[in-house]
């Protein structure tokens, strides 16, 4: 599948934003972050910025962005529509939460707490819906894996957790717990991702060009002439393939720079004084950004679409 940068940016940025929102809500509910403090406000603004950047970026992928509002209508069948509905719905408690902090910081604590709870639930559901857009496509074997949506959620939580730990360090708020939680989440995400790669590498490639054409009874099938001399939309969009050797290098880069190294940095940060800890958390955040963008690029580039059988793939 063609790794469109608009979609990569959307899923990684909004994923981190939603993850941040979830941890912020948990921290508020647990009382480790004041519901109406500068840290909560900064966290909310950053989360909304990441989410909104991602959503705007996703509309760049559309042929007719001015019609994007129509995408919320088909939530009964379409995960993409559900994602849109949930994303918009999540703005309501998140926005109210922010407003409450801004204008009535002294309001009864249960109000922001309740809004935080709703925002966290919305965030998790939105990321789940994003994952399900991919997981629900049987035409792409690497995506119709049960680990796809969970990994999306796990990565959102891990990246959001890293960002919150960084924020806490910057604001001089206790960051150690969040740093350790984020490190654990990164390791969990790395394990899940490794399991996912193992599964797609060992999955049976049982769809064949013989079945796609129905000509297997005659014998082995192979293309003689394509329908057009130059690649068409289907080949440009679905025919993107990354070389296996190249992919395994990138997997290592993603795991090392994006998961293992940041996890170690975060553990280190937990034991450092505030200023060096901030720099360690910043380095971890940058590493995670590189790692998760690489991971997302690979998620597309390694996914082989069944339609490629008509264009030269022997089996998928």
């Amino acid at each position: 599948m063609n790794p469109a940068y608009s979609v990569i940016l959307f899923t990684t940025a909004s994923g981190a934003g939603y993850g941040l929102l979830v941890w912020l809500a948990i921290a508020v509910l647990l009382g480790s972050v004041a519901p109406s403090g500068a840290l909560a406000a900064a966290g909310l603004v950053l989360a909304l910025a990441l989410i909104t950047t991602g959503l705007l970026s996703s509309t760049l992928h559309l042929g007719r962005p001015e019609r994007a509002w129509r995408a919320v209508s088909q939530w009964r069948t379409s995960w993409l529509s559900r994602e849109g509905v949930l994303a918009l719905a999540t703005y309501v408690p998140t926005g109210l939460w922010l407003l409450v902090q801004w204008f009535s910081p002294s309001i009864w604590w249960i109000v922001p707490a309740f809004l935080a709870l709703l925002a966290a639930a919305g965030a998790l559901a939105t990321v789940w819906a994003t994952g399900m857009i991919y997981q629900s496509l049987p035409t792409i074997r690497a995506w119709s894996e049960p680990l796809v949506a969970p990994v999306y959620v796990l990565l959102a939580l891990a990246t959001g957790g890293v960002v919150l730990a960084l924020l806490q360090a910057v604001f001089g708020s206790p960051w150690q717990v969040m740093a350790i939680v984020a490190a654990v989440l990164l390791v969990a995400a790395a394990i899940a991702k490794w399991l996912y790669w193992h599964r797609i590498d060992t999955a049976p490639r049982s769809w064949t060009v013989e079945s796609a054409t129905g000509l297997g009874s005659i014998g082995r099938v192979r293309p003689l002439e394509p329908p057009h001399s130059q690649p068409n939309f289907v080949m440009r969009e679905m025919g993107y393939a990354v070389a296996r050797k190249h992919a395994s290098t990138l997997r290592m880069l993603s795991l090392g720079a994006g998961f293992v190294a940041p996890a170690l940095l975060l553990v280190l940060a937990a034991s450092l004084p505030p200023v060096p800890a901030t720099f360690a958390a910043l380095a971890a955040t940058l590493g995670v950004a590189v790692g998760v963008i690489t991971e997302r690029w690979l998620f597309f580039a390694e996914a082989q679409h069944v339609v490629t059988l008509y264009y030269g793939a022997e089996r998928v």
């Binding site: 003689l224 002439e225 329908p227 057009h228 001399s229 130059q230």
Partner: protein, 536 residues
């Protein structure tokens, strides 16, 4: 050979077999003789007959008393006596070599004769600019060329007559020349303008009619000296009569438009064609539809319409008497006999019964050196396109590969996508290979007419047609090797002059260690301002 088998089987014009589309069958052979001997050509008078026709005896040949061909393409000469279509592919070569004579002006129309309609393309391109060493003058001093596109031939022209495209012009697909008939009845068709030209052009036929009047040709001039067809080509289509009541179009003739085949010109004829979707089809009565060569109901009707000269049944010939007349001439009988140089050739190939002989090229070369056959055919979807640069069709095929038997390739360690040199006695081209099962192991093939010279046809210079294509034409000689006395026959059928495209023999070698890409490439053409993409 196919038609001889059909004749033997009685599988012509019977239900379920090969059938003939009216206005055919014509008398065999048609009683039309070609004209164009030096004595036929008189200033201020039309040629006494058509340029093309059906030669049946040596007396009909267009040769001078010396035996020299009268026509520049040597059609209807001893080189190719029954060349009913002419030998268009030889014109540039003959003109440049001054064989049979030199010409001062070469006037050509849209046939792309120095590219994919030509053999030995590099040499033919060189002919267009070749100079006489003694005088420093061009061997072909003036070239006039008409084309709707910036084709490979256009840059070599001294005078270009820009033509209109099919969408901008009137045309007539007449019963006189490859009509759209089916076996159940004759049909003809027109094209009519659906868009107005956005540039300063006129349809080629309009220009010819205008030129004809300007030089005072009778056919285009009224007795008072005014234009006979002031409305140009559509006027000509409607009002020209080649015989009483017979014109370019057969449908809706007569003042009332109710006659078919023969009738006075109908001023509303073109409107009737347009209203009917651009064509006219006459349905034969059921009893006229089969055995048309001996069907009284059909033949009487066809005679009345001018399709047939008489109602005598037409006899298909297994034993071909006209060929025997030439053979007798080669043996010294009759008033017109071939020159010594041609006697053996005429005697050998003008056999009144069909026979097989080894193609000239195969006979002349070492088959161990060139063990493979190489053939080419136009892709089906390109058949009715003017040039293959059509915006839709070029998406389907913009590049061509050399198709080769998988088994043969394996013996040569060639795999799919390898680059190979295809070498003939004439030259070599480089191509990329696509292996397949459905081809004879000793034959390679490719799609024809895809390749374009870079910069031509309004395409970008790096279009696939210029970078991932090749033509087999480069490998096919237009002349056979020299014979005793230095004479070189055209690489064409000795009887009909049909170009011997399919006699090509080649060898295939892996192009190891060379950069990928087709070869040869010619210097890119630069379209003049306002032409093609440079003009947009």
């Amino acid at each position: 050979m196919l038609h001889i088998l059909q004749m033997l089987l009685g599988a012509i014009e019977t239900p379920g077999s090969f059938r003939v589309k009216p206005p055919y069958p014509k008398s065999i052979p048609p009683r039309i003789k070609p004209r164009g001997k030096a004595a036929d050509v008189k200033p201020g008078t039309p040629l006494p007959g058509p340029q093309l026709g059906f030669v049946t005896t040596p007396d009909d040949l267009l040769v001078e008393d010396t035996g020299m061909p009268s026509r520049i393409d040597k059609a209807f000469s001893w080189d190719a006596p029954i060349s009913a279509h002419g030998l268009m592919h030889m014109v540039i070569t003959n003109a440049a070599k001054g064989d049979p004579y030199s010409i001062d002006t070469l006037f050509m129309y849209m046939a792309n004769m120095s590219w994919n309609s030509s053999m030995n393309v590099p040499a033919v391109i060189d002919h267009l600019t070749a100079k006489d060493e003694a005088t420093g003058e061009y061997k072909i001093p003036r070239i006039i060329y008409s084309d709707a596109y910036f084709s490979e031939m256009v840059p070599y022209a001294d005078l270009i007559l820009p033509d209109t495209t099919y969408l901008e012009r009137w045309d007539c697909i007449s019963l006189l020349d490859r009509p759209i008939s089916d076996a159940d009845g004759p049909a003809d068709a027109i094209r009519h303008p659906v868009v107005q030209p956005d540039r300063d052009v006129r349809g080629f036929q309009d220009v010819l009619i205008d030129l004809g009047w300007r030089v005072g040709l009778q056919a285009f001039t009224k007795p008072d000296g005014s234009r006979k067809f002031p409305g140009g080509y559509p006027d000509y289509i409607v009002n020209h009569e080649r015989g009483p009541g017979v014109g370019p179009l057969a449908g809706w003739r007569g003042k009332d438009g109710e006659s078919f085949g023969k009738g006075e010109p109908n001023p509303k004829q073109l409107e009737r064609y347009i209203a009917n979707g651009g064509f006219h089809h006459h349905e034969l009565a059921p009893e006229q539809r089969y055995m048309k060569f001996a069907n009284r109901a059909y033949m009487e009707w066809a005679h009345a319409k001018g399709f047939l000269e008489s109602t005598d049944r037409l006899v298909m010939q297994l034993y071909c008497e006209p060929l025997q007349r030439f053979r007798l001439a080669a043996e010294g009988h009759g008033a017109v006999t071939p020159p010594e140089t041609h006697r053996h050739r005429i005697k050998t190939y003008f056999d009144p019964l069909p026979f097989w002989y080894e193609p000239f090229e195969e006979k002349a070369i070492d088959l161990n050196e060139f063990p493979m056959h190489a053939i080419t055919q136009r892709p089906m979807h390109m058949y009715h396109s003017w040039g293959s640069q059509n915006a839709w069709l070029r998406q389907i095929t913009a590049a061509n590969r050399l198709f080769m038997s998988r088994g043969t390739a394996a013996e040569m360690q060639i795999v799919d996508d390898d680059w190979v040199w295809i070498t003939s006695h004439q030259g070599r081209v480089k191509a990329q290979v696509k292996l397949m099962e459905g081809v004879n192991p000793e034959t390679v093939w490719t799609w024809n007419a895809i390749g374009k010279r870079s910069g031509a046809w309004g395409l970008d210079k790096d279009a696939p047609e210029a970078t991932r294509r090749f033509l087999l034409n480069h490998l096919i000689g237009e002349l056979l090797p020299e014979r005793e006395g230095g004479y070189r026959f055209s690489n064409s059928d000795p009887i009909t002059g049909q170009a011997a495209w399919y006699d090509l023999r080649v060898r295939i070698e892996k192009a190891d260690g060379e950069p990928p890409g087709t070869s040869p490439r010619f210097e890119p053409l630069t379209p003049p301002k306002g032409v093609g993409r440079s003009g947009r």
